[in-house]
Amino acid sequence: MTHSLHRRGDVESLKKDFLILSCSAKGFNDGWYGPLGSEFVRVCTKHKPVNGGDMKTGNLLYVDPEEIANKVTNTTILEFNFDNKQNVIDCIKELKERDLGISIVISGMIDEVNDIVQKAGLPKVHTREFSLGTHGKTRLLPEWEVLEFTTMCGHAMVASEYVKKAIVEARKGHVSPREAAVQMGKCCSCGNFNVNRAVELMEKNAPLWTSDYPAY
């Protein structure tokens, strides 16, 4: 239900994390969505997304944007991730001007999204989904610093053990923070994973990370 709603992190970090999504409405516009979805891809990729794609074709870390655009079908779910608010405003403005007639969804901090909607010239958000957190046997969850990474993939394809390993490897200098972040991002085929934010988190967390990890 929530590709991008339940991301964890501090406010300053989450302010640099936006996701724009589009999909067809089954029984309404799923007979002709494909070419409109392709246009959505081309508009989004003009505005410097950090990542993006669709789960079947793959993401921008390893697939050319035009290939993503060309492979859109009537049921493709498309997602593009941004770390710059102005780029999001410009992208939403252009999507509004292009008037594709397809559903567009944006995830991000509530105040930031309200500001983006206003600056993009839209009247208001139509429907909003709120995250009420994680409950139940929460002692099973990994460390908060790990959740900051893993929750950037809505399908939980970025394993917490891999994040711990990557942090240790970055601390030891075996890989650069970007190399580690890109490898995590490749696990998340939708393109939900904000690689630039992951690099910042890696640079923040690696020097402070005290536990070690088995040297597999």
């Binding site: 339940h6 999909c23 909607v117 139940g136 046997k137 053990e161 696990c187 597999y216």
Partner: protein, 249 residues
């Protein structure tokens, strides 16, 4: 997921990629070789290990899953399409297309209880506990959702008994209800779910916003003692044809 024990060299490169740590080292009967063994009970068939592309000897492959193990893949591997909806993923369109479908109307809310999220996984017997607890409110489970599809009784929330021992990376219990039922939902989750399940769940509520950009649902959430996290998901209302809904009172 299957490991070819005759190929695997036990290097362990695939181990950290498993979201549910369902892998360990095994040894051949003669004791001469070490290889990776998958705990089939824990494995949720997400396919992450294979897609990571780290196996140097190509010893992993996805097998065709027999029933009822099929449900593990459907709910864990986003690349698999749930045939009933024709859409990959674990849930439905929910509010992503609400301006067109009119699914969540004024005075109503969409609710998602994502069992096993983030990254813990959930046994379907645990999912059934939640379905049966919230079903007492007389809510309508969302059609097109895989959990709803596998219900034996949509009124009671009872699942098909053959799937109860299956597990998945997440399982989204999706339903709609009146906004006035929010306090009762919170009570049920606190009293009948939170301490009764052997996993976690992540919880969301969606509502139409009024012309002034707010909703009374926020007050209901706060009055119920829940705290909204700072990130939100927002349908911008740009799709067509627009669902014609009566104006808000």
């Amino acid at each position: 997921m299957v490991i070819d024990e005759t190929k695997c060299i036990g290097c362990g490169k695939c181990l950290p990629f498993c979201p549910v740590q369902a892998r360990g080292f095994g040894r051949s009967a003669s004791g001469g070789r070490t290889f990776i063994v998958i705990d089939k009970d824990k494995c949720i068939e997400c396919g992450v290990c294979e897609r990571a592309g780290v196996c140097p000897v190509d010893a992993m492959h996805m097998e065709e899953l027999p029933w009822p193990r099929t449900v593990r893949g459907i709910l864990s591997n986003p690349l698999l399409e749930f045939k009933a909806t024709g859409v990959p993923g674990r849930g439905t369109e929910e509010i992503k297309t609400n301006e067109i479908t009119g699914r969540v109307k004024y005075g109503r809310v969409g609710v998602g209880i994502e069992m096993g999220r983030p990254g813990i996984s959930a046994r379907w017997a645990e999912v059934e506990k939640v379905c049966m607890a919230v079903a007492k409110m007389g809510i309508g489970f969302c059609e097109g959702n895989p959990i709803t599809h596998f219900m034996a009784d949509k009124k009671t929330g009872k699942l098909d008994p053959t799937v109860l021992n299956e597990a998945s990376l997440s399982a989204i219990v999706e339903f709609e209800m009146d906004e006035t039922q929010i306090p009762e939902l919170f009570r049920i989750l606190r009293e009948e779910v939170n301490d009764q399940i052997d996993t976690v769940y992540t919880f969301e509520i969606a509502a139409r916003l009024e012309a002034n950009g707010t909703t009374t649902v926020i007050k209901a959430i706060e009055d119920g003692g829940y705290q909204m996290l700072p990130v939100s998901k927002n349908n911008l209302g740009l799709g067509r044809p627009r669902f014609q809904e009566e104006v808000s009172a």
